[in-house]
């Protein structure tokens, strides 16, 4: 059986205006000769519980120097904490706060469903799909980086065939 390319709904949402050849090549970074850290694909899950949600993104560090993500904040949330979802030794799903998250040189750090995420709590407004949420990430070297995250359907919305 020939594998067919798949792409998750959330990616479709994010790449809506892009011709979806999305899966068409491997994970190349041929043009990754950037000079500073950037935040790619920032997204916020539409909250099911209006008090809490998660931010997903990719922290892209094209530089030759490692950095550290010290904190994240948002004016719409009372608290923003960097967490990683993990399974403990007894098989429980749990979350572990990540203080001073290392960002290696020439790396992409994925904040992904069932993995790293920024937990936002104490939200001061309802969030609808497509809303924009301002975030500020503070790095030890790169300083503060502001970004607008788009509200999307929660988490790992399962993939669907983009060609069906």
């Amino acid at each position: 059986m020939t594998p067919r390319p798949r792409i998750p709904i959330l990616v479709i949402a994010v790449l809506a205006t892009i011709t979806v050849a999305g899966c068409g090549s491997s994970d190349t970074r041929a043009d990754a000769a950037g000079t500073s850290i950037s935040i790619e694909y920032p997204m916020v899950d539409q909250p099911a519980n209006p008090d809490v949600t998660a931010v997903r993104m990719v922290v892209h560090n094209p530089t030759d120097r490692a950095d550290t993500l010290l904190s994240v904040s948002s004016p719409i949330a009372r608290v923003a904490a960097i967490h990683r979802s993990e399974v403990d030794s007894a098989g429980r799903s749990t979350m572990v706060e990540q203080k001073d998250l290392p960002i290696a040189a020439r790396s992409d750090v994925y904040f992904e469903p069932s993995g790293l995420h920024v937990m936002l709590t104490g939200l001061d407004r309802k969030l609808a799909l497509g809303d924009e949420v301002p975030l500020t990430l503070t790095f030890r070297r790169a300083g503060k980086i502001g970004v607008m995250a788009t509200v999307v359907a929660p988490g790992t919305v399962p993939e669907t065939d983009h060609d069906r």
Binding site: M1, R4, I18, R29, A48, R84
Partner: protein
């Protein structure tokens, strides 16, 4: 910065990698469900499920099967919910979580909701999703109703005393629920088994699914078969 991700050109510096993003779950669980962009022919466990239409069973076969919890929960309307009596003979998907969980719980519930949407009114669509809110201080019946309603109007929330929930958790052979101490902001993490137990018409669970790791098409494959009472 990246104020408008949709406007990012496809050739941007960070091409979205399906495999990297969804496949490398830090959970340590096998990411079998989270197949990638298959074009790169990765050699991961995805190879068992290479196509968008799942061809084989997901989850884990448990033999002997697991019996249903014997407890009486409290439903979203504050009414008693004797589990065995109320789910008798019905395809039932049981999942323990908490409404303040930002990641694994909503991901699991959204996957199930999308699978049921995909099944529409076909076989398997009658599956009853039951979510046990284990964080009794925050998972009130009203909160459960609001939370689950955002995924699918048929999802039902259950809660109860810590004793009742603890007993049900034990009966499903999961490690004890851990409610951590609140941090300075009053937030606290709850450690809980995140398996989905699929009870078939014979009132036992032959299959257990790693909730947030199951692809939509795997549910779409398995649920109609489970609805027929088959499980292997």
């Amino acid at each position: 910065m990246t104020a408008d991700p949709a406007a990012r050109p496809e050739t941007g510096p960070t091409r979205w990698s399906r495999r990297r993003f969804l496949g490398t779950a830090a959970s340590g669980l096998v990411a079998a469900g989270l197949a990638a962009c298959s074009l790169d022919q990765s050699t991961g466990p995805d190879e068992n499920h290479p196509a968008a239409t799942a061809a084989s069973w997901a989850g884990t076969l448990v033999d002997p099967p697991l019996a249903k919890p014997t407890v009486t929960f409290t439903d979203m309307n504050g009414k008693p919910f004797p589990f065995r009596e109320r789910t008798k003979g019905q395809l039932t998907l049981l999942f323990f979580g908490y409404t303040s969980c930002p990641d694994v719980c909503p991901v699991t519930l959204k996957l199930l909701a999308n699978a049921l949407d995909s099944l529409a009114t076909g076989p398997g669509s009658e599956a009853q999703v039951l979510f046990v809110g284990v964080d009794v201080a925050r998972d009130t019946p009203a909160k459960l109703k609001e939370y689950l309603g955002s995924f699918n109007p048929t999802f039902l929330g259950l809660t109860g005393t810590e004793e009742v929930i603890g007993q049900a958790n034990r009966e499903m052979k999961m490690a004890p629920i851990v409610i951590e101490a609140p941090d300075k902001d009053g937030n606290y993490v709850v450690g809980h088994g995140s398996q989905v137990f699929a009870f078939t018409e014979d009132d036992v669970a032959h299959r257990i699914y790693p909730g947030d790791q199951v692809r939509q098409e795997q549910w779409v494959h398995d649920l109609p078969l489970l609805a027929k009472g088959t499980y292997r």
